[in-house]
């Protein structure tokens, strides 16, 4: 029993004894490890080889490698076979072997931090990617410098460990650049008469963050200011279009003598213009739409029912004609009759109906009709307009909108007491 225990212990000791194989046919001369931004390495290992030997064994620094090329001292390519831990090279009397290969086995990544780890029998030249910042070294290098902007280290033989990141972000510089960009962008938009209060506020916040050394947050806030400015401009453009449409409708009503209800339409239009001037573009857009709606509901004073229907028909035709004319005029030259509201370059929204119907192939017929209606109306309409257009009860309209919302085809925006149904941006070209 005791003998068995001794045997087991001895066998165990044998297993933990390191396995080392002789490498006396070659003497390492130099090693160069060039590290690339993707963590791959180009290894150039030079060994002195016994010229009396036909084949020599060479240990490599990784188990996996690619692009292996071995040449002798005259640059003649040599063959090799893989053995455990390295290669048997057909040296055929070579005095020197230059072994070049690529491998990703020598590096590991921890977040942005790269670690190079290898055990070298000779002093090793480690070349890091351009701009790399060293964070740790396993030993004091014997040389340190730059080759074409890339940092190099001559590390003594033994365990080689280099920890680095590809480049430290220039936080102050980046944050300042972002703020400058945002400032320039916002100023250029303001020169086009846009009012960008919210974007300005964010820009101020970004500057304050820099003052408190919060550079990453400052950069992020500066870019957010640019996004906000873009959003505001989009809303402003949309509002300008609605105001132009409302003006056209009001002018049409005036020309037709439909004075009943006209003052309310004009008042609402003026409110829209006022909102626009102060930079409340969303409110301006809503008010303009209401003004258009009110202008359409105007009537001639004391006219009968028959005349009323006739009048409405004429009014609709006139509004349609006016809208067409206005669009045509806008395409040709700027309208001098709208000095107080700047109408930015307007591009009519095109709804991608095909995309909607392909993605949502199980849509009901009435849903499809409403979507087509929205598409014809620049991608949006008030819930009341939908109800009126399709002569639907309020509850049915509400269910239809809810259905389209759940399918993420439309979104609903509350404008005053009204509900504006808009095709979502995904389907707008």
């Amino acid at each position: 029993m005791r003998t068995r225990a001794i045997l087991v212990m001895i066998l165990f000791s044998m297993f933990i004894t390191p396995l080392v194989y002789a490498q006396d046919d070659v003497t390492p001369t130099s090693l160069e490890v060039k590290v690339y931004p993707d963590g791959s390495t180009l290894v150039t290992y030079v060994v002195e080889s016994d010229p009396t030997k036909v084949r020599v064994d060479v240990e490599l620094f990784s188990n996996n490698y690619n692009n292996l090329i071995i040449r002798d001292e005259d640059g003649i390519p040599l063959g090799s076979t893989i053995i455990e831990g390295g290669l048997t090279v057909d040296s055929i009397g070579a005095s020197e072997l230059v072994i070049v290969y690529t491998t990703s086995d020598l590096t590991t990544k921890d977040g942005p931090i790269w670690n190079l780890n290898l055990s070298s029998p000779v002093s090793t030249l480690v070349i890091l990617p351009q701009g790399a910042a060293i964070f740790d070294l396993g030993a004091i290098p014997t040389d340190l410098g730059n080759i074409n902007g890339a940092q190099y280290l001559e590390m003594p033989a033994g365990e080689i460990y280099v920890s680095f990141i590809l480049s430290m972000p220039n936080l102050i510089g980046d944050a300042q650049t972002a703020i400058n960009e945002a400032e320039t962008y916002i100023a250029s938009l303001e020169s086009q008469d846009y009012v960008l209060i919210e974007a300005h506020s964010e820009l101020t916040q970004a500057k304050q963050l820099i003052d408190t050394d919060q550079y990453i947050e400052a950069k992020s806030m500066a870019y957010q200011a640019i996004d906000t400015a873009d959003d505001i401009v989009e809303t402003a453009n949309s509002a300008a279009v609605e105001i132009a449409l409302a003006e056209s409708s009001v002018t049409g009503a005036e020309e037709d003598g439909r004075t009943e209800g006209l003052p309310q339409a004009i008042d609402t239009l003026n409110s829209a213009k006022s909102y626009y001037s102060e930079g409340s573009y969303l409110e301006a857009e809503t008010a303009a739409k209401q003004a258009s709606h009110l202008a359409l509901l105007t009537d001639e004073p004391s006219s009968g029912n028959t005349l009323l229907y006739l009048g409405v028909a004429i009014l609709i035709s006139a509004a349609g004609g006016g809208y067409y004319l206005m669009k045509k005029m806008r395409q040709e030259e700027p309208t001098p009759s709208q000095p107080e509201v700047k109408v930015p370059d307007f591009q009519e929204k095109t709804v991608d109906l095909e995309k909607i119907f392909v993605i949502n192939e199980d849509l009901r017929l009435e849903d499809r009709e409403v979507i087509k209606f929205l598409a014809e109306n620049n991608g949006e309409a008030f819930a009341t307009e939908i109800r009126d257009r399709f002569d639907m009860p309020r509850s049915s309209t509400w269910r239809l909108i809810r259905r389209l919302k759940s399918l993420e085809i439309v979104e609903e925006v509350k404008v005053g007491n009204q509900s504006l149904v808009k095709i979502i941006k995904r389907y707008i070209n």
Binding site: L78, G111, S119, F135, D213
Partner: protein, 347 residues
């Protein structure tokens, strides 16, 4: 009885296993072999052990350099520059007046390491260098913690890191199997010719040194060379007939057998024969180059040097004949010399 023999054998094997290490150490006595990724923990100033993947040269908390390796002042200055860069970058990243106590303490500790390093610069440059590395490690740990707490900040690093390049881009060309095969045929021809000349020269060398080698070793050496010559003749015939299959194996067998046969002689003689054989191989290679008109003035100088080394080896052997020279250093083995002297006295 058998049960006792087995443990004994195993113990013997255990004792012998370090011999493999000794063999490996022949080329680089103080250098470890590649392929073993080891880690040594490094103590920090606060006494904690951090960064398990690092293995710096050690410095105690008082800054006493335990390695004593001198550090070039220029290198020290460059390491200082690296550490200072990290200090500025991390202060910028975390904010000089960071409100987080962890980061504030971390920055302060790293700064203390920097200050300690500066203090050591004149008195103990090595300790200073290690202390700068320690500070860099502390900054790296802070960076890790910061990224852990602020995963969004990782984008900043990723954005900065968009630099292209992979190792494959810099690989100079490719070598096809055909190219290797063609080169191999040429090399085999040249090697066979060289080896033949080398054996002939070795025969002459053995003849020159036969008196010093003693009749038995001289005979063994001559026999080994004759055997190699015969093998080479057969290989030559095959090469002449264009039969290259297996020629490389036969050549390897011939060279290895010659080396093994040399080992049959006295260790000192065997060592001398192998050294001579290696020198002859190098000489024949250089001569081959010269004959082809491919040698440079440096090659000619090297050839002269090799010939000189050969003569030196011969002379050393002659001077120390019978005294043993297992270290191949031209000096007789001390122990053997003493034993020989004792033997002579006894006589």
């Amino acid at each position: 009885m058998n049960v006792k023999i087995i443990p004994f054998t195993l113990i013997l094997m255990l004792f012998l296993s370090p011999a493999a290490l000794l063999v490996n150490a022949q080329d680089n006595e103080t250098e470890p072999s590649p392929g073993i990724n080891g880690t040594i923990p490094v103590p920090t100033l606060d006494g904690n052990t951090t960064l398990p993947e690092t293995n710096s040269t050690s410095t105690d908390v008082n800054g006493t350099d335990t390695d004593g390796e001198p550090v070039d002042p220029i290198i020290l200055a460059l390491i200082r520059e690296q550490a200072q860069n990290r200090m500025h970058e991390m202060s910028q990243l975390l904010g000089e007046g960071t409100e987080s106590p962890d980061f504030a303490n971390g920055l302060m500790e790293a700064k203390q390491s920097m200050e300690q390093a500066m203090n050591f610069e004149t008195s103990n440059p090595s300790a200073a260098a290690n202390q700068y590395l320690q500070a860099m490690r502390q900054y790296r740990n802070l960076l890790r913690k910061y990224l852990n707490d602020n995963p969004g900040a990782l984008n900043e690093f990723e954005e900065e890191s968009i630099v292209n390049g992979t190792a494959t881009d810099d690989v100079n060309g490719t070598v096809t199997e055909t190219e290797i095969s063609e080169a191999q045929t040429r090399l085999v021809n040249e090697f066979e010719e060289r080896f033949r000349n080398q054996v002939t020269s070795m025969m002459q060398n053995v003849a020159d040194l036969s008196d010093d080698m003693g009749p038995q070793d001289a005979f063994k050496a001559q026999q080994a060379l004759t055997k190699a010559e015969q093998k080479l003749l057969r290989i030559q015939e095959r090469i002449a007939g264009g039969q290259y299959d297996g020629v490389l194996d036969d050549l390897e067998n011939a060279t290895e057998t010659l080396s093994d046969d040399f080992d049959e002689t006295d260790p000192g003689t065997a060592q001398m024969l192998k050294t001579m054989n290696k020198l002859e191989a190098k000489i024949k290679k250089m001569e081959q180059k010269t004959n082809k008109g491919e040698s440079t003035p440096e090659d000619d100088a090297l050839l002269e040097q090799l010939r000189g080394n050969k003569d030196h080896t011969k002379n050393d052997f002659k001077e120390n004949k019978g005294k043993g020279n297992s270290g191949n250093n031209g000096k007789p083995d001390k122990e053997k010399k003493e034993k020989k002297d004792k033997k002579d006295k006894d006589k």
